[in-house]
């Protein structure tokens, strides 16, 4: 490569290019870091929202089941099913969106257990209702001292007298309900409990975001130092040398000698000055 202008332009372009790379890198890395942090916060917020919805659905289901079992009102069946479906939907959404999957297994287990329990209860209730209807028909046709009446129809008509004390709600549902709410709470606090490793991850991300920029800056500093050094030895020093030597020649007639290494246009300048001095010397003689 020859020509001072060309050398300086290329050097300047290299530095500008590196500056641009450093800038772009810091922009991209910080953007990524900000996105990562935003993702963690959004996941935490979404976790709480989903947990709240699940708790609402579980509460709704609980109320509907209490009404269904205490009042024996079959009108609450659809409410139970709707609450269960809502719970399942939210659970599926949570499964789909969760960043931290460590608490999802226990939540899935509790939800499935609840569904099986509620479905079983509602099915049994529906079957019993059908049997009661059939018994009512039989009651009208059979005499009340008939053995078939005593064994099958009478318990259907007065289930509270014949059935064993119904511990389904307290023994089965309540335990499952508690497990479900505990799992939902664990899911809700999962983002908080995994905050420490996530903070560590964020710290690593921040380190990774800064490192390329720091390295680019270090390389740029090295290049700027080299640029300064080369400019000094190839441009500044020769100009100073030519100036000093020319001054000495003009003032004291000391021979024009430049010790510094001259290149490109500066070499031409030096040669032209020498030519000029020679011409002046020849003209004088």
């Amino acid at each position: 490569m020859t020509g001072m202008r060309k050398r300086i332009t290329v050097s300047f372009l290299s530095i500008a290019c590196l500056l641009f790379i450093s800038g772009m890198l810091s922009f991209v890395e910080l953007n990524r870091l900000s996105r990562g942090t935003g993702d963690i916060l959004a996941a935490s917020r979404r976790n709480i929202e989903l947990a709240k919805e699940m708790l609402d659905a579980a509460h709704e289901l609980n109320v509907a089941l209490i009404h269904r079992s205490v009042l024996s009102d079959r009108g609450y069946d659809s409410l139970c099913r709707a609450a269960m479906a809502r719970l399942e939907n939210v659970h599926l959404t949570a499964r789909h969106e969760a960043l931290d999957r460590s608490f999802l297994d226990s939540l899935s287990f509790a939800t499935t257990e609840m569904k099986v329990l509620v479905d079983g209860y509602l099915t049994r209730s529906a079957r019993r209702a059908e049997q009661e209807a059939a018994a009512a028909i039989l009651a009208d046709t059979l005499p009340h001292d008939d053995s078939l009446w005593i064994a099958q129809v009478e318990p259907m008509l007065h289930p509270e007298e014949h059935a064993r004390p119904d511990g389904w709600y307290t023994e089965e549902f309540e335990a499952s309900y508690n497990r479900l709410t505990a799992a939902v709470k664990a899911y809700m606090t999962s983002t908080q409990s995994s905050l420490a490793p996530r903070t560590e991850q964020m710290k690593k991300n921040a380190y990774r975001a800064v490192t390329p920029v720091l390295i680019s800056l270090a390389v740029m500093i090295a290049i700027v130092l080299m640029f300064y050094y080369f400019m000094t030895i190839y441009c500044v020093n020769p100009v100073l040398g030519i100036n000093k030597s020319l001054g000495n020649y003009l003032a004291f007639k000391v021979p024009f000698v430049v010790k510094e290494e001259c290149k490109d246009e500066l070499l031409e300048l030096k040669e032209k000055i020498e030519q000029l001095i020679n011409q002046a010397r020849q003209a004088k003689s």
Partner: protein, 481 residues
């Protein structure tokens, strides 16, 4: 000294290193653009820019002076180690700044010691860069660049003279220009042969290539946490033993043997002694291990003994067994092997068998001189009379080498390491071996070392690789004027 000229040639070496980073980028891309792709690409770009910048201003110059040659070689090694950290630092993971520096120095100096707890979790692109750095280092950072860049002309001779030790040059018996080409041919040939053999023995292509590069460079880097013990395959071990042992022989002699020249390795006194040490040490260790009940059969003892002896004497550092569990007798022999190492003119580090033989011959000559004060006693090596200057240099080197080991061990104990770890760590780093004993045993790594010791050990690796005096000159301010 013309610093601009030094910068130009160091820049050329950096351009060469950047090209290897780009190859690693290709490997990363081929493996589904793994997480090392962008770190490697950015590192290649920055290194290339840094290397290209001096070329803008400094045009090709004539002959380099001796000082300039030294400055180019030492500067190239240091700068290579610095830019070698870029991919590690940008990738992150286990690489803190000191870990990245240690890994880079360990790679370029072919030490093969690592600070990584889980090597297998590294993406393939970064793995390949690790092995590339060690492969470049095996040949010599500057020597490699000299082969690739024919435009260097007369400067090539000066640089190769500086990078290669005097002992290695003497044994070559070729013109300087040819030496560089011979080295390359032998090095490439060894790597290619090893690659094919390892592939045929059951490794996958990537592992075979990495281990072939590592074995030819006598580095000891492995793609597996358990090193070669992972494969538990006698054939792979045999191939690596042959590759390592061959890489420990003078490359000029290998070339001469292959091309049917008279001065081949069968006539070399140094090579004979080198092979005898390997066999003798292996047999002694095998007997010791068998007698102590470490292995059930003598054959199994010999299998592990010869692998470890070859691995340590060639300064490779691969492992098939936990040598910390071996008998004290075996450990002492292995430490002895780690200090002597193999022949000059090879890719290995350490004192070298040549110097050991010369030291023994000088001792014999001294005794003879005492018995016959008027006798003219000459020291010969491979039939060549060695001048006093050479013998003096050998003795100074051995003394300086041992002093640096002691200094390293002293600093190690000062920072809380036990004596075995401190001493063998210093021995292994100074000889570019890799594993030592104690906390830095064959199945351990340098991760648990204090930060100061990682700096000290990486400095020892550089001292060992540059044969002490090159790097020492850096600390002499007067030398730079």
């Amino acid at each position: 000294m013309r610093f601009d000229v030094v910068l130009r040639y160091v820049g050329v070496v950096m351009l060469f290193i950047a090209s290897f980073m780009l190859i690693s980028v290709g490997v990363s891309y081929y493996n589904g653009m793994d997480s090392a792709f962008y770190p490697l690409l950015l590192s290649a770009l920055l290194t290339a820019l840094l290397g290209a910048f001096p070329q803008i201003f400094v045009s090709k110059k004539g002959q380099l002076s001796m000082k300039e040659g030294f400055a180019v070689v030492v500067g190239s090694w240091l700068v290579a180690c610095v830019v070698g950290t870029f991919p590690y630092l940008i990738w992150g993971g286990e690489f803190s700044p000191i870990n990245a520096w240690f890994e880079s120095v360990s790679g370029f100096t072919t030490t093969g010691a690592t600070v990584l707890e889980d090597i297998e979790s590294l993406p393939r692109g970064l793995q390949f860069w690790r092995f590339s750095s060690t492969w470049i280092g095996g040949m010599g950072v500057v020597m490699f660049a000299l082969v690739i860049l024919p435009s260097m002309g007369r400067s090539r001779m000066m640089l190769s003279n500086v990078e290669m030790s005097t002992l290695a040059r003497d044994n070559f018996r070729y013109r300087t220009q040819v030496i560089v080409q011979i080295l390359m041919v032998v090095y490439l040939g060894l790597t290619a042969l090893s690659l094919l053999s390892l592939k045929l023995a059951g490794m996958n292509w990537f592992d075979a290539l990495c281990h072939a590069m590592s074995a030819a460079a006598t580095s000891g880097f492995s793609t597996k946490n358990l090193s070669i013990a992972f494969y538990n395959n006698p054939l792979i071990e045999f191939i690596l033993i042959v590759t390592m042992a061959t890489s420990g022989i003078h490359f000029g002699l290998i070339y001469a043997t292959v091309t049917g020249k008279h001065n081949n390795l069968f006539r070399s006194e140094v090579t004979r002694h080198y092979l005898a040490i390997i066999l003798g040490a292996s047999l002694l260790i095998a007997i010791s291990l068998f007698a102590a009940g470490n292995y059930h059969t003598l054959l199994a003892s010999f299998r592990h003994a010869i692998f470890q002896v070859t691995s340590l004497i060639t300064t490779s550092g691969f492992a098939t067994a936990d040598t910390n569990l071996w008998t004290p007798f075996a450990i002492i022999i292995l430490i002895f092997c780690s200090i002597i190492c193999s022949c000059s003119g090879s890719t290995s580090g350490g004192v070298k068998v040549n110097r050991l033989l010369l030291a023994i011959k000088m001792l014999k000559a001294k005794l003879q001189q005492q018995r016959h004060p008027n006798a003219v006693v000459r020291v010969r090596l491979d039939g060549m009379v060695q001048d006093n200057e050479m013998l003096y240099a050998v003795m100074v080197f051995i003394v300086a080498y041992l002093m640096l080991i002691l200094l390293g061990a002293l600093i190690g104990t000062l920072f809380g390491l036990d004596m075995t770890t401190a001493f063998t760590g210093a021995v292994s780093c100074m000889g570019n071996v890799g594993p030592g004993f104690g906390e830095v045993g064959s199945m351990n790594n340098f991760a648990s070392m204090p930060v100061v010791m990682k700096w000290v050990d990486s400095l020892l690796m550089l001292f060992g690789r540059l044969e002490i005096f090159g790097l020492l000159q850096l600390f002499m301010i007067k030398w730079w004027k």
